[in-house]
C-alpha cells in the first residue's frame, strides 16, 4: 500500500502538470485568437487568391481530428519543417510546441469562422463611418471594428477557450508531462489510478466552471456604456 507521503509527492507533481496545462491553454488560445482574427478579416475581403487557401485550411482543420493533427505535427513536424525551410536536422519540435501548434491551428479555424460571422453582423455603417472619417485601415480595425467584433464573438470565444482547455490533455499522448500524464503515471505507480484521475477531472471542471463568471465580467466590461441607462 502506498503511504500518504507518496501521494503528496505525486500531488505536488500534479501541480507542475497543472502549470504546464495552463501554459498550453494560454499560448494556444492567444495564438489561435491572433491567427483566427487575421484569417477572419482576410475571409471578409473578396480576393479569391486568399479565399481558396483559407477555405482549404478551414476545411482540413475542421474535418480532421485534432489528435491526428497533433501526431502529424509532432512525429512528422520537424521533417516537414526541415524539408520546407531547408534547415539541417535541428528543429526541435517539442511536445509543448507541437501541442500548442496543433491546438492553435485547429482552433484558429474555428475562431476564423466566428470572427468572420461577427464581422458580417457588424452594421455596414460602422465601416462606412470609418471610411468617411478617413481613418487609416489598420487603426480602424484595431480601435473601432475589432473591439465590436470581439464583443459579438465573445460567447463563441468562451466556448473555444473551454474546448482548448480540454484539448490540451491530448499532449499527454505525445509525452508532455501535463496534468493527465502525471495523473496517469502516478496512477500506474501507485496502482490507484482512480484518485489521481478524478482529481485531474475536477481540475478541468473547476477551470471551465470558473470561466463562466469571468466571461460574464468580461462581457459586462465590453458592454460598458452600450446599454441605455434610464428610459
Amino acid at each position: 500500500m502506498p503511504t500518504s507521503v507518496d501521494y503528496s509527492g505525486y500531488f505536488q507533481q500534479m501541480l507542475g502538470g497543472v502549470s504546464i496545462t495552463v501554459q498550453m491553454l494560454l499560448w494556444s488560445f492567444v495564438i489561435s485568437l491572433a491567427i483566427g482574427t487575421v484569417f477572419g478579416i482576410l475571409r471578409t475581403g473578396a480576393s479569391g487568391v486568399v479565399q481558396i487557401p483559407l477555405t482549404i485550411y478551414i476545411s482540413i482543420m475542421t474535418g480532421v481530428p485534432s489528435l491526428l493533427i497533433l501526431f502529424i505535427i509532432y512525429y512528422g513536424g520537424s521533417g516537414v519543417l526541415t524539408a520546407l525551410l531547408g534547415y539541417d536536422r535541428s528543429f526541435d519540435v517539442s511536445p509543448f510546441s507541437s501541442g500548442v501548434a496543433a491546438i492553435a491551428m485547429v482552433n484558429a479555424a474555428y475562431v476564423c469562422d466566428l470572427v468572420h460571422g461577427a464581422i458580417r453582423n457588424l452594421p455596414k455603417g460602422q465601416f462606412e463611418a470609418c471610411t468617411v472619417l478617413g481613418l487609416p485601415r489598420f487603426h480602424a480595425w484595431r480601435l473601432i471594428l475589432l473591439p465590436q467584433v470581439f464583443r459579438l464573438a465573445l460567447p463563441g470565444l468562451v466556448n473555444i477557450w473551454i474546448i482548448i482547455l480540454k484539448e490540451t490533455s491530448l499532449v499527454s499522448l505525445v509525452g508532455l508531462s501535463d496534468l493527465v500524464t502525471v495523473a496517469k503515471t502516478a496512477g500506474g505507480a501507485t496502482s490507484e489510478p482512480f484518485v489521481f484521475l478524478i482529481v485531474a477531472s475536477f481540475f478541468y471542471i473547476a477551470m471551465s466552471t470558473l470561466t463562466v463568471p469571468l466571461a460574464n465580467r468580461l462581457e459586462r466590461r465590453l458592454n460598458r456604456g452600450q446599454t441605455p441607462v434610464g428610459a
Partner: protein, 256 residues
C-alpha cells in the same frame, strides 16, 4: 440665401455622372454644380438614386463615368486622391453610425488622433467646441447608447465637423428619428447652413428645405428632374412628377 447668379467658387461639381449596380443603372448621367456656401436639398422617391449620388461624391461608391470635382480635385478613384477628397467632405448618415464602444468625446477626437492632427489637448478642445456648437457638450463623456436618437445624430454631426471639412453631406439625417427629436437636429443643420457651410442634404423635411435651402433638387429614376430655388420648387413645380411627389409627401411633414 444668396443670389446664385453672380459668379462664385464652385465647391462640388458633377457632370454626366453614371453609376451601375450590376445591370441596374442607379444614376443615368447626373449633372449638378454646388457653389461655396450653398445649401442644396435633394428629394425624390425611394430608390431614385439620392443616396447613390451623394455617396459618389465622397467615393463611398465609385462612379462608372462622368466627372466629379470636389474643391478643385477631380475624383479619379486612386487611393491618394480618394483620401484627399474625403478630407474635404464630411458625411452624416441616416443611422448615425457612431462608434458604440467609445465615449462621445472619443468619437469626435478619434480621427484627429489617428491622422496625427494636433495634440490630445488641442483635439479635445476642438471636439468640445463642436459639441458645444451642436449643444451637447455636457454629454461628452457618455457613451452613444446612453443618448437619445436626436442627441446621437448631433454627435455624428459634431464628429464630422471636427475634421473641419469645407463640404458636408447629409443622407436623410432625420428619418431614423422619433418626431420629437427631429427638430433639434434640423436646428443644428440650419445653424450650419446659415454659418456658410457648403451642404448637400438628402431630406424630406420640407420645412427645413423652405427655410434654408438655396436650391432644391428633385430626383427620380436616377435622373435629376428639376432644380429650383426652394419657393419655386414647392409653390410652382414644373415637372408633373415633382407635383405628384409633393402632393403625396407634404401632408406627412406637418411637424416641421
Amino acid at each position: 440665401m444668396r443670389d446664385i447668379s453672380t459668379p462664385q467658387t464652385i465647391d462640388v461639381s458633377l457632370r454626366d455622372v453614371v453609376k451601375h449596380y450590376g445591370p441596374f443603372q442607379a444614376l443615368k448621367g447626373v449633372s449638378l454644380e454646388v457653389a461655396k456656401g450653398e445649401t442644396i436639398v435633394i428629394c425624390g422617391p425611394s430608390g431614385s438614386g439620392k443616396s447613390t449620388l451623394i455617396r459618389c461624391i465622397n467615393q463611398l461608391e465609385t462612379h462608372d463615368s462622368g466627372d466629379i470635382v470636389v474643391r478643385g480635385i477631380t475624383v479619379d478613384g486612386t487611393p491618394a486622391n480618394t483620401r484627399d477628397v474625403r478630407i474635404e467632405v464630411g458625411m452624416v448618415f441616416q443611422q448615425f453610425n457612431l462608434f458604440p464602444h467609445i465615449t462621445v468625446l472619443q468619437n469626435c477626437t478619434l480621427a484627429l488622433r489617428l491622422l496625427n492632427k494636433g495634440t490630445k489637448r488641442l483635439n479635445e478642445e476642438k471636439a468640445m467646441y463642436y459639441l458645444e456648437r451642436v449643444r451637447i457638450a455636457e454629454q461628452a463623456h457618455k457613451y452613444p447608447a446612453q443618448l437619445s436618437g436626436g442627441q446621437q445624430q448631433r454627435v455624428a454631426i459634431a464628429r464630422a465637423l471636427c475634421m473641419e471639412p469645407p463640404v458636408m453631406l447629409f443622407d436623410e439625417p432625420t428619418s431614423a428619428l422619433d418626431p420629437e427629436m427631429i427638430n433639434e437636429v434640423l436646428q443644428v443643420m440650419e445653424d450650419l447652413a446659415r454659418g456658410g457651410m457648403t451642404m448637400i442634404c438628402v431630406t424630406h423635411e420640407m420645412g427645413f428645405a423652405r427655410r434654408v435651402a438655396d436650391r432644391c433638387v428633385f430626383m427620380a429614376d436616377g435622373e435629376i428632374h428639376e432644380i429650383a430655388p426652394a419657393e419655386a420648387f414647392f409653390d410652382a413645380p414644373e415637372s408633373p412628377r415633382l407635383r405628384g411627389f409633393l402632393d403625396r409627401i407634404l401632408p406627412s411633414t406637418a411637424h416641421s
